[in-house]
């Protein structure tokens, strides 16, 4: 199971996509809106600045108009012309109130102030802005001036009577109230300030709108000046678009500017509710999307997980719950296919299991199944694990197959199984090999086992009948009892098989397992491993049995006999392992070792001046080895031993079993000059007629005829006949198993060539043999001296 489930990943992917797209959209919209607002702010500010100037002009026009009406007043003109200062002042005051002026001046044509309604403390004697007066005759003249820290709008109007006699200058204060009034009347922005230049780079605010933003102060602080083009800046942490607009001013006057601000925050405020609505929608959409994604993913992942669980159950061998899903989409199709597959796999597995556990011919459980069942029965519950295992073997079966073919044999085996089933209803029946059946009688004792075995033998001894054949099956039954002969099925089976082998040779066809006569004890197999180790580690050795030349009474030859000094078992006789080595294919290695060792020893003797003749036994299997003559030739040349010093001894059985190969090998050996001796002559089936075809140079009379030679006349006759006949055929003769002086004397008397046996000497180690052979040089044999 991955750490992050399919469902979670799917849901996360959906949500992440949704959030990303929404955030990108939001960012885009915000940026576009903001840019649009900045552009709009620039446009509005410029328009507002122009509108502000125009509005000021309107105000000054209104004031000027009023003053002009005043200027045409005959009484005023008369008063001015007549220099009637008192009347003039009162008229000016009166009129000043009408137009909303804070101060009215009468200025003479030479610029001298002739009347001033302002404070006497700040009264002017000479009008400080002569250019205002100069231009007043040509056109209406108005300008913003800063005086005493206050800004005012000054309008100069000449008085004609009918020629100019002076000018009335009206001063309208540009104060917070006026700005507020203008803001009410027009689209003047709420953030507006008037500033007068107190010194280069220093601006003092002289009036401000209804919102006290501090535009000028922060601009001067942040930018050391005022922006004459729209500027985006930050005032008190808020974004503003700011523009300074110069106002009309007299030449000698102080600069007065209007600073207008456009708050982006204010402009954005209508969008704020949109943003909140959007965020709410996003959150809502996110939630719904999350839920939707979760459910969608679940609808996909749930069935997938269910299928996975089903797959795990199937893996564990549980086919009972096929993944059934009532859906019509792809998952449903998958589930359907899955179910079908599960059924098919289940059927196939059942079939395979059945085949694995059953014999296809008889449909009985096979050996594996039988072992499992028997083991289960033996170890089951509180029972003591008693029972009888009957191994039923049909010994003739290979012969029947060769004769009648497999098909009939199969029918025969089916027939056999059916017959056994009939007579052993309660037994567990299985076929454990091609020729063998097994019956497991749970809780049965020996008597019951024998009864069952006899019943089976009865029914199987009835010949198998087909249309034109009648076949005897020759059944045999081996019985192994549990727990006496084993507490495990495998052991019981093996022992029952041993018993069955034994039974197949007996007359009754019935046998119990007997551990003492079991030729198949496991330790035999381990012996072969040890033998291979012994060959590698040279723990085998050769002993040499002297061969006495009866004519010369000298030991002139030896039969090399293999001895094994086992590290744990001590000395092991050749009989105990040679046969098994033959069976397990190890004999050729043994022979090679024996040949090499014997010839090496012969070389040593020859070098010591002992030209001894060595005889080496060959196994039947050795005569299947076509390389043997070449190998012996190689060994002879390596050890510089003459070929006629070596004799190989073979049994009669060896040359009869595989005649063609064996004879070919023997001939090649004989051609090389190696002597061929027939061992144990007389007990086998070989005849002189047969031997004539072989390159035989020597016969060794079996000890059976030699042992009682001293007393048995029949044996004497047989031995004399063999010696005679052999000599006539050109063979030398050696008598084996000479055990007394009488036999030795007789053999010498009839002209037997060599004798060997305990009476002369048992087999000796190489050194002892050399001493023995040397010691006998030139002496007549005194039997038993060494015994």
């Amino acid at each position: 199971m991955p750490s992050m489930g399919f469902r979670l990943r799917l849901a996360l992917f959906f949500v992440a996509t949704l959030v990303t797209v929404q955030l990108l959209t939001a960012g885009l919209v915000y940026e576009v809106t903001r840019r649009a607002l900045v552009a709009e702010g620039e446009r509005q500010l410029t328009a507002n600045a122009h509108a502000f100037v125009a509005q000021m002009d309107d105000i000054s026009a209104r004031i000027a108009g009023n003053v002009e009406v005043l200027s045409l007043d005959y009484a005023l003109r008369a008063a001015i012309a007549e220099r009637d200062r008192g009347t003039v002042l009162s008229v000016l005051r009166n009129h000043g109130r009408r137009v909303g002026a804070s101060r009215m001046l009468l200025v003479g044509l030479d610029g001298a102030v002739e009347a001033d309604t302002g404070d006497t403390a700040t009264a002017l004697t000479h009008f400080p802005f002569p250019d205002l007066i100069d231009s007043a005759y040509d056109r209406r003249t108005a300008a913003v001036v800063a005086l005493d820290g206050k800004a005012s709008w000054m309008v100069a109007v000449p008085i004609y009577a009918p020629q100019p006699v002076g000018l009335v200058v009206v001063s309208v204060p540009l104060d917070d109230a006026l700005l507020a009034h203008m803001q009410q009347l027009s689209a003047l922005p709420r953030d507006v300030e008037l500033a007068a230049q107190s010194a280069p780079g220093h601006w003092a605010v002289v009036a401000r709108g209804d919102r006290h933003t501090g535009l000028v102060d922060s601009l001067v602080a942040a930018h050391q000046g005022l922006p004459w083009k729209p500027l985006l800046t930050e005032v008190d942490g808020k974004e503003y678009m700011v523009l300074a607009q110069r106002l009309k001013q007299p030449k000698q006057g102080t600069s007065v500017v209007a600073v207008l601000g456009y708050s982006l925050d204010d402009a954005l405020s209508p969008f704020r509710s949109v943003a909140i609505a959007w965020a709410t929608l996003l959150a809502l959409g996110l939630g719904v999307g999350l839920l939707g994604a979760w459910f969608t993913a679940r609808s996909v992942s749930r069935p997938v997980e269910a299928l996975a669980a089903a797959a795990r159950r199937i893996e564990a061998g549980d086919y009972r719950t096929p993944a059934s899903m009532q859906r019509h989409d792809e998952i449903g199709q998958l589930a359907g296919a899955f179910g079908t597959m599960t059924k098919a796999v289940h059927q196939r597995e059942w079939h395979i299991r059945h085949q694995a556990m059953h014999d296809s011919v008889t449909d009985l459980p096979n050996r594996v199944a039988a072992e499992a069942s028997i083991d289960q029965d033996l170890g089951d519950g509180d029972r003591t694990g008693e029972g009888a295992l009957l191994m039923v073997g049909l010994t003739r079966l290979p012969e029947i197959i060769k004769t009648m073919g497999h098909a009939l044999c199969d029918r025969l085996m089916r027939d056999a199984s059916e017959r056994m089933r009939r007579v052993a209803v309660d037994a567990y029946l299985a076929r454990t090999s091609d020729t063998q059946f097994v019956l497991w009688l749970s809780q049965a004792d020996q008597a019951a086992a024998v009864a069952a075995a006899l019943r089976i033998l009865d029914v199987l001894n009835e010949p198998y009948q087909e249309t034109d054949v009648s076949i005897d099956r020759l059944p045999s039954v081996g019985i192994a009892m549990a727990p006496a002969d084993g507490s495990q099925a495998s052991t019981l089976l093996r022992h029952a098989e041993v018993a069955q082998f034994a039974a197949s040779g007996s007359a009754s066809g019935l046998s119990f397992y007997d551990a003492t006569t079991d030729p198949h004890r496991p330790d035999r197999l381990s012996l072969m491993g040890d033998l291979r180790d012994a060959l590698d580690r040279e723990s085998l050795l050769l002993h040499y049995q002297p061969k006495l030349n009866l004519a010369s009474q000298r030991v002139d030859g030896a039969e090399a006999l293999l001895r094994w000094n086992h590290s744990r078992r001590g000395w092991i006789a050749p009989d105990a392992f040679i046969g098994m080595a033959e069976d397990t294919g190890n004999i050729q290695r043994v022979t090679r070792w024996v040949l090499a060792s014997a010839l090496a020893q012969a070389q040593k003797w020859i070098e010591r001046g002992l030209p001894l003749h060595i005889a080496v036994n060959l196994s039947t299997r050795d005569l299947e080895d076509a390389e043997l003559p070449a190998r012996i030739g190689g060994l002879l040349s390596i050890h510089q031993v003459p070929a006629d010093c070596l004799t190989v001894e073979v049994t009669e059985r060896a040359v009869i079993g595989e005649p063609d190969t064996a004879i070919r090998i023997l001939r090649r050996l004989a051609e090389q000059g190696v002597g061929i001796a027939i061992d144990d002559f007389g007990v086998g089936q070989s005849t002189f007629a047969y031997l004539r075809h072989l390159p035989v140079s020597e016969l060794k009379i079996d000890q059976m005829f030699v042992k009682h030679l001293a007393s048995d006349t029949n044996d004497r006759t047989i031995v004399r006949s063999i010696v005679d006949l052999s000599h006539r055929l050109g063979y030398r003769v050696t008598a084996e198993g000479v055990e007394d002086q009488g036999a030795l004397d007789y053999l010498a008397s009839i002209g037997c060539d060599h004798a060997q046996g305990y009476f002369i000497s048992r087999a000796l180690p190489a050194d002892a043999f050399a001493a023995f052979a040397t010691g006998r040089d030139g002496h007549a044999f005194a039997g038993g001296v060494q015994q």
Partner: protein, 217 residues
């Protein structure tokens, strides 16, 4: 017009015994247009202003026609008289706050004022309290060499002796508060004709269809 001829006859009468040098003054505004109705005076730089030959005082009629005073500027000798005659069908309230002569009277259509004697030298601006655009100027001066510019912007001052003079120009539309334009003129020979040029900076003509309440800024 008859009065003018009379004055001309007076000057001509003097010509026989006087020098014949001339000063022709050309007046134009800043845009090159000839300026008429300007008063040009030529005053000897060294000698005191010679008294004009005393003649019998003349009476000048300032007519009011189509809501205008005619003429716009009238040059007078001290002691001359003026009569304001209303030739319009409306009343005119003729007034003057001038220092040399203050008067005021309402003239009914067709009515004439009594003759006013202008005894002091100076300028009297006369207006109508009913019609603000009406104005006329009575230029009272004793300077002998005085002339008004004609429509081609020139004014000729004759019968001048050689010597150094100061030429001074006055016009109703000269900028108030500014010094009057003055040039020094030297006449070498008695028959010389000296050309003088003045460029005047003038205010708009108040008699035009001007409405002071609707001036452009």
């Amino acid at each position: 017009m008859r009065c003018l001829l009379m004055i001309a006859a007076l000057f001509l009468g003097n010509a026989w015994s006087a020098p014949a040098a001339e000063v022709v003054v050309h007046l134009s505004d800043g845009r090159g247009h000839p300026v008429n109705d300007a008063v040009v005076m030529l005053m000897p730089a060294t000698a005191a202003v010679a008294k004009s030959p005393a003649g019998p005082p003349a009476t000048y009629i300032i007519d009011q026609h189509d809501e205008s005073f005619i003429p716009y500027v009238q040059v007078l000798r001290p002691g001359d008289k003026v009569v304001f005659r209303n030739s319009d069908s409306t009343r005119h309230h003729v007034y003057s706050f001038a220092a040399i002569k203050t008067f005021e009277f309402v003239l009914r259509p067709g009515e004439s004022s009594p003759a006013l004697s202008m005894d002091q030298a100076g300028i009297a601006a006369v207006g109508c309290n009913i019609h603000d655009h009406m104005a006329t100027y009575l230029f009272v001066s004793a300077v002998p060499a005085i002339a008004m510019s004609s429509h081609d912007g020139s004014a000729t001052l004759g019968h001048l002796a050689a010597g150094r003079y100061t030429a001074q120009v006055w016009h109703p539309q000269l900028h108030p508060g500014h010094p009057e334009p003055i040039q020094n003129v030297t006449i070498v020979g008695d028959t010389d004709t000296v050309q003088l040029s003045f460029t005047l900076s003038l205010l708009p003509d108040p008699r035009m269809s001007m409405d002071r309440e609707h001036l452009d800024y």
